[in-house]
Amino acid sequence: MAATAKSLPQPRARVAEHEDPRVHLMHDPRPRGEMNDMVLESMHTATWRYWIATGTLTFLVLTCFVFAWYYLIANGLGVAGVNRPVYWGIFLVNTVFWIGISHAGTFISAILRVMKIEGRRPFTRAAELMTTFGLVQAGASIFMHMGRVWLAYWLFPFPNERGLWPDFHSPLMWDFLAINTYLLCSTMYLFLPLIPDLAMVRDRAKGWQKIPYRILALGFRGTEGEWKNLHTAMNIFAFAIIPVMFSVHTIVSWDFAMATRPGWSSTVFGPYFVIGALHSGMAAVAIVLFLIRSTMKNMKYFLRPEHFNLIGMLMLLVSMAWAYFYFNDYLVPWYGGDKWEKILQEFTEKGPIWWLWYVMLICNVAIPWLILWRKKWRSTPWLLAIVGVFINIGMWIERYVIIPEALTINRMPFTWRIYIPHVEIFLTIGTVSLFLLLYMLASRVIPLIPVWEVQEGQESHTLRRVGKAELSTLTNIE
C-alpha cells in the first residue's frame, strides 16, 4: 500500500554548548595534589576582611551572647519579655529555629549519600558543620530559657542523691534524649569523612601546626582495612541518622502538639515541623555555600552554579511541601470551627501583630515560588542566597507565630496578654553571631571540601561518547 510521506516537524535549532554534560560532576578533574593545595591555600589565606569579620563577630558574641546571658542569669527571667500567658518566648523560637537549621546538614549529607546523588560531594562537609553548629545554638537557647539553668543537669538520667530520675512522661525529656542523640551522632558523622582530609593536612602541616592534626587524624594511613571500616561506618551513619533526624524535629513538634492548647494540639505537627526544618535548613545551606564560595579562595572550582541549582530545586520542592502542610494545619482547625482555634486564627490574622502572619507567607511561599522555578535564577548563587535569607526570616517568624503568638490565646481570656521581647533580642543576635563565628574559625582549621570524596567522585565518572553527544557515565566503583 502506498504510504503518504508526511514531513516531520523539525526540532528548533539549539546551540551545541548548552548540551554540555552535567558540570557539577566536575569533568575537569585536577590532580589530587593540586586539589589538596587549593584547599590548603583556601585555609591559609586570611584577608583583612576575614579578620574584621571575625573580630566583629567575636565582639557580638561577647556582648550579645556571653554578657547578655550572664545578665539574664544574674537577674532572672524578669529581664526577658516572657510573662503569663506567654511563658515561652523567643528562646524557644530560637531553639526550634536552630534545630531546623541543623537539619539540612544531615539531610543533604545523609540522604544524598544514601541516594548516591553525586552532586553532593563538594558541599557535604559545609552542610554537616551546619548541623553541629546549629545544634549548639539550639542547646544554648534551651538553657537560656530555663528558670534555674544551674540545675539543668537534673534532666540527665543519672543516679543521684535525690533518688530521683527524670520523668519520661514529659515531651521535654524525649526532646532532651533526641537532641542529645542527634548532637552526638551528627558530630561523629561529621568527624568520620574528615579523618582522611585531616590526614592529608597532617602530611602537609609544618611545625607546631602538625601536632593537632596528628592527634585528630588518629594515625590514619589509608590501608584497605581502614578504608573499608570507614566506608562501613559511614554507611551505617548515613542510614541510621536519617530516622533520628526525622525523630528529632517530630519530637520538637510534640513539645507543642502534646499540650492541651488551641493551635498546638495538632496531629500534623510532626511532619509539618520536619518540613519546616528542612525549609529553613536548605535555605541556610544556600547562604553558607554562597558565603564560602564568594569569600574563600579556589572555592569557585569546587562549588559551581550547578550545585546551587541542585540546592535551589530542593528548596523549591521543600517550599511547596511546607505550603501543603501549613495548609493542612490551617484548614483543619478552620473547618472544625473550635471556638478557641477560631479565636487564635483571628488573632494571628487580625490581631495587634497581624502583619507577621502575612510576612511569613510571603517569605516562605511567594518569594521562593516566584524565583526558584527558573534554572537560570536558581543557578545564580547570590540570588539563591537572598532567597535563602528571606526563607529563614519567614521560618523564624513562623516559629514566632506558633509559640509566642499562639500562647497569647488560651482558654482563660482574662489572662490574654501580648509578649514584648527584651533581652531575647540580643541573645538572638548572639546565637547568630556565634553560629557564623564558628564557621569562620572552622573554615581556617579544617578543610571545608572533602577532597578525597571529590576525587573519588571524579574517578568514578567518565565521559562517554554516544553518537555525537558526550554523556557522563557513572562507574560505581564503591
Partner: protein, 258 residues
C-alpha cells in the same frame, strides 16, 4: 517495693470524680469580688508582691484571681459574675506529666496537685499546659531582701509552714496543704479521722460572703459534697476532662435592665 504494672486502660472519669479527696465549691452568685480571698491567700502562703510594672505585665503572683467580663454596651451592659480562679487540683492534671523533673506531681494521699519547688528547674511547661492559667512563676527574686530592702521588716510575717520560693520556680495554689496536714496530724493524735470542717483554706476562711466551701468530697454528707449537688454546679472547661476538684455554682449575670 511492689508495683502493679499500671498499663494504660480507658478510665471512666466519673469514677475519678467521686474518688477525689479534697474539693471546693465556689458560689459565683455570692462572690462579691471583694478580694478578701486573694489577700488571705497571699498572707497565708508567703506570696510575694511584684510591683506595678510587673503586675501589669502579667507577672503578679496571685495564687487566686477574681475574673469578670462584660457583655453589651451601656446602658444594656452586664458584668458576668465574679469568678475566682485558682488551681483546680485536677485528677488528670495536664500540668503534671509534662514536667521533665517530677516537680509537678500528684499526691497519692491527698489527691491534690503538688508543686515541689526545690525540684523545679523552670521550664514553665506546666504553666503552658494548664488550661486554667493558674500557675505563677517567680520571674525575679521577689522574696530576696538583699535586692528589696523594704522586705526585711515585712518578712517578719513569713509563715514557717510554707516554703519561701526563690527566683526561677513555678508555684500555685496548694489547697493550703499545710493546714490539711496539720489537721490530719491533730486528728491522728486524737485517733479519729478528719471531720468535716477541720480544714479551711485561707481563702474560704476569709470569704465574707462564705462563697467558698471546702471539705472532703469523698464524704457524701460533707458540706462541700452537698453544695456540689446544687443544680447550678459546673466544672471549668469540663470538656477537657481534667476532672477538676472545684465545682463552680453559676451566678446570675447582673447588670442594668435585668
Amino acid at each position: 517495693m511492689a508495683n502493679d504494672l499500671q498499663l494504660p486502660v480507658f478510665t471512666n472519669t466519673s469514677e475519678q470524680e467521686v474518688s477525689g479527696k479534697w474539693g471546693m465549691v465556689i458560689d459565683q452568685d455570692l462572690c462579691t469580688g471583694c478580694q478578701a480571698c486573694v489577700a488571705a491567700c497571699s498572707m497565708e502562703n508567703n506570696v510575694p508582691f511584684v510591683g506595678e510594672e510587673d503586675a501589669n505585665y502579667g507577672r503578679s503572683m496571685h495564687w487566686i484571681r477574681i475574673e469578670r467580663f462584660w457583655s453589651g454596651t451601656f446602658p444594656e451592659v452586664k458584668m458576668t459574675p465574679y469568678q475566682p480562679m485558682l488551681c483546680q487540683q485536677c485528677h488528670n492534671a495536664p500540668c503534671e506529666p509534662v514536667c521533665p523533673v517530677f516537680a509537678s506531681v500528684h499526691s497519692a494521699s491527698e489527691d491534690t496537685n503538688l508543686q515541689v519547688y526545690n525540684r523545679c528547674v523552670g521550664t514553665r511547661y506546666c504553666a503552658n499546659n494548664c488550661p486554667y492559667q493558674v500557675r505563677v512563676f517567680n520571674w525575679r527574686d521577689y522574696t530576696d531582701a538583699r535586692a528589696r530592702p523594704w522586705l526585711t521588716s515585712l518578712q517578719n510575717q513569713l509563715s514557717p509552714d510554707v516554703t519561701v520560693r526563690r527566683r526561677g520556680v513555678m508555684e500555685k495554689c496548694t489547697f493550703c496543704i499545710q493546714r490539711i496536714h496539720q489537721a490530719e496530724q491533730v486528728a491522728a493524735s486524737e485517733n479519729r479521722s478528719i471531720a468535716d470542717g477541720d480544714v479551711t483554706p485561707a481563702c474560704a476562711q476569709a470569704c465574707p460572703a462564705d462563697a467558698i466551701v471546702f471539705g472532703r468530697i469523698d464524704d457524701p454528707n460533707s458540706r462541700v459534697s452537698q453544695a456540689a449537688l446544687n443544680a447550678r454546679g459546673y466544672h471549668q472547661l469540663d470538656e477537657l476532662r481534667t476532672t477538676p476538684r472545684i465545682t463552680y455554682l453559676h451566678g446570675a449575670s447582673n447588670g442594668s435592665n435585668g
